[in-house]
Amino acid sequence: MTITAEKPTTAATGRPPVRRRRRSLVTWVRGGGLGALLFLLPMLVVFTAFSWYPIAESVVMSFQQTNLVTAPVFVGLDNFRTVLTDPLLWTAVRNTLWFALLALLLGYPVPLVAAVLMSEVRRFRGLYSALAYLPVVIPPVVAVLLWKFFYDAGPTGVFNTVLRAVGLGPLPWLQDSSTAMASLVMEATWAAAGGTVIIYLAALTSVSPDLYEAAEIDGASVWRKIWHVTLPQLRGVLLITFILQIIGTAQVFLEPFLFTSGGPAHATTTILLLIYDYAFAGTLGGDYGSATALSVLLALVLAVFSAVYFRLTRSWGTL
């Protein structure tokens, strides 16, 4: 085994090229390579066992019919055919896109606005940050139970009582196909916004105060400072949080699973919930082949989307 040392270029250093130094296995071991590898070993074992192996196994399983007890049978592309001809798939795709769109409209700007406002205040900024982050530390199941209570569709439900005070409602919230998905998005936004706020707040600290001072000298209003200084400076972070949001919403599962089980009448059945249903909902169904086939398809779509997105926006983040 030989390892090649990194070679500095002439252009970068202005010095003549250094001759490549070849390292033997013995020098690698003496140099602490074995120790480093042993330190890495637990992590490699854990990742292999709990991440890489299951991913590879899932891909294999997508071509098999198996109940995970008896021997699997290879069925070629049958599972992919089953998934792609299932009418529920397109319902799930439509619902997932609807969730993503609503989450984008509601969930994307809310943390940004909150972070910008917090960065403008002089006092209690830490308190506001803590309050914004608080929902993130509440266990998701507890949060969903709490919101289920808020979403009581009766006239005495918490939200409906508030609406009645201003002459509105009552709304059916989770109990109607037309309002169920929006209700899930509201809770999901509340639960996740705190984390993004913290990211934005951290990014805002890196914006040079000189830019704001220059803008103020030019007579810029608060709005123009945000538009012409803050947002351009946050562009890189905004692009990353955008793609993370898209990937996150494409994999939405917790809310529809815990709030509605995909109902009413499949109005909140998302792609991940459908994957779960293929695998587990039939109790005896256990169609793990179709479940993994759909998982592989989703992963491919998201990988392609991410690659295209980063290619298209490569220059935007560094302008």
């Binding site: 120790g35 007890v69 109990q175 109902g263 009413p264 256990g286």
Partner: protein, 451 residues
């Protein structure tokens, strides 16, 4: 010792520890067999104490077996995950509907040879035993209890609504009228329905049976879906009328089993359909006030109307070793069966259960015959602590009503289809019942053909 050697040693130790964590087994150091048995989640202290007492009695009677307990209750949405993941206890319970499928797929252990040794083996009701039998007649899963569906009602809400709780409804027209009166006078749901996690299909099938319908027709190995029938239509129209014309079904149309029990016990639901022995769960898990509870026979209407009946099977994990299988069958006999077949065991179980404040005497159907049921009730009479009089409208009729088994082919998948139908009826006033049933029947037939 050099720093490098020290760090290398530390890394090795960490790796070895991580790998050691993966090891496991079913035999303890003292040579005992370790058996994991299931206990219902969410039980109060008394129920847990009663269970622990039974475990100790079992360990005393079987010195070579160490029992561990694991919270488990069959749930449609998690069962397969646990089964596939190998995280079920060694002994677990499941509904009749899952027995044949799991046996055919060999997803549970074959304990037929061990079960044959039960002294009461030949006394199982053949119709009930079938749920746990393989094609060759071997019993892979033991029927431990059976039930018929019943109409549960809240006596306090009945009284508040000006209804006589001793005169519960005996027709579906009366159910509808009483539900409307409860909703109007108390503001609570007069009648509610489970709709999620396959329970919507389970209850809708119950209503279909009660209106004289059946959801499948068996002919040899072939099954024909019969969802799109006048009886099923009538059942859905009844729900539609209560929901949209009377507004008597409250505001929650996404109930699962736990959710509806909780709301019923809390006095937010006037009536609902569930298994006749449900009082035990309502008391142990939802702390229902006994004075609130009433149960009556399910109204039946039309020719061939019947009560959907099902039950619970005890099975053993497919991955269990021979010694664990043997221990598991002993546990099934000790914990689930002896209290039904042996006077001393029945009395001991009833006493321990009653002493811990748990329910004794909730109305179940027998897994053997009515004579056995009557005999057991005589044995445990002094420990019965359920409101017997309030259960009389059901217990007086439960053996007279025709019992119809749950559908046998793709049962849970068809239930899942029907979840959607019933949700649609309850959340969309303009839902077309004929169109939905025609579509559901097509989908169900595809599932039946596949199975």
């Amino acid at each position: 010792m050099s720093w490098k050697l020290l760090t290398t040693g530390a890394a090795l130790a960490v790796a070895a520890t991580a790998l050691a964590g993966c090891a496991g087994g079913d035999t303890s150091a003292n040579g005992h067999t370790t058996l994991t048995v299931s206990i219902d989640p969410g039980l109060d202290k008394g129920a847990v104490a009663a269970f622990t007492t039974r475990v100790k009695q079992f360990e005393t009677a079987n010195p070579g077996i160490d029992v561990r307990t694991q919270e488990f209750k069959w749930d449609a949405t998690t069962f397969t995950a646990k089964l596939a993941g190998g995280t079920l206890p060694d002994v677990f319970t499941m509904p009749f509907t899952d027995g044949r499928g799991l046996i055919q797929r060999r997803q549970i252990a074959d304990i037929s040879g061990l079960v044959k040794a039960f002294p009461y083996f030949d006394k199982f009701s053949p119709q009930i035993a079938k749920a746990g039998e393989a094609d060759d007649g071997g019993m892979w899963a033991v029927p431990i209890s059976a039930y018929g569906q019943a109409l549960h009602y809240n006596r306090t809400l009945f009284t508040q609504a000006g209804l006589n709780p001793d005169d519960p409804p005996i027709t579906w027209d009366q159910v509808r009228a009483d539900a409307r009166q409860i909703a109007q006078r108390t503001g609570q749901a007069g009648y509610a329905e489970m709709t999620t996690d396959n329970t919507g299909g389970w209850i809708l099938t119950t209503l279909d049976y009660a209106f004289g319908g059946r959801t499948e027709q068996l002919g040899g190995d072939h099954a024909k879906s019969t969802l799109d029938t006048p009886q099923m239509t009538a059942a859905l129209q009844e729900l539609h009328a209560m929901r949209w014309d009377d507004n008597s079904m409250g505001s929650n149309f996404l109930y699962d089993w736990n959710g509806i029990n909780q709301d019923f016990a809390a006095g937010r639901v006037g009536m609902y359909v569930s298994g006749g022995a449900n009082y035990g769960s309502l008391k142990a898990q939802n702390a229902i006030k006994p004075a609130d509870y009433g149960v009556t026979a399910l109204p039946l209407t039309g020719k061939d109307a019947g009560v959907l009946g099902g039950g619970t099977l005890a099975a053993v994990s497919a991955t269990a070793s021979d010694s664990v299988k043997a221990a598991a069958v002993k546990w099934i006999d000790f914990y689930y069966m002896q209290k039904q077949t042996n006077q001393d065991a029945a009395v001991a179980d009833a006493k321990a259960t009653a002493d811990s404040g748990e329910v004794v005497g909730a109305p179940e159907l027998p897994v053997f015959d009515k004579a056995q049921y009557d005999q057991r009730m005589t044995w445990i009479a002094r420990y019965v602590n359920v409101p017997v009089k309030q259960m009389a409208p059901y217990t007086d009729k439960m053996f007279d009503q025709p019992l119809v088994p749950e559908p046998t082919k793709s049962t849970q998948q068809v239930y899942a289809l029907l979840d959607t139908v019933v949700q649609k009826v309850l959340t969309d006033r303009n839902a077309s019942i004929p169109a939905m049933l025609a579509d559901a029947q097509l989908q169900a037939q595809a599932l039946l053909d596949k199975s």
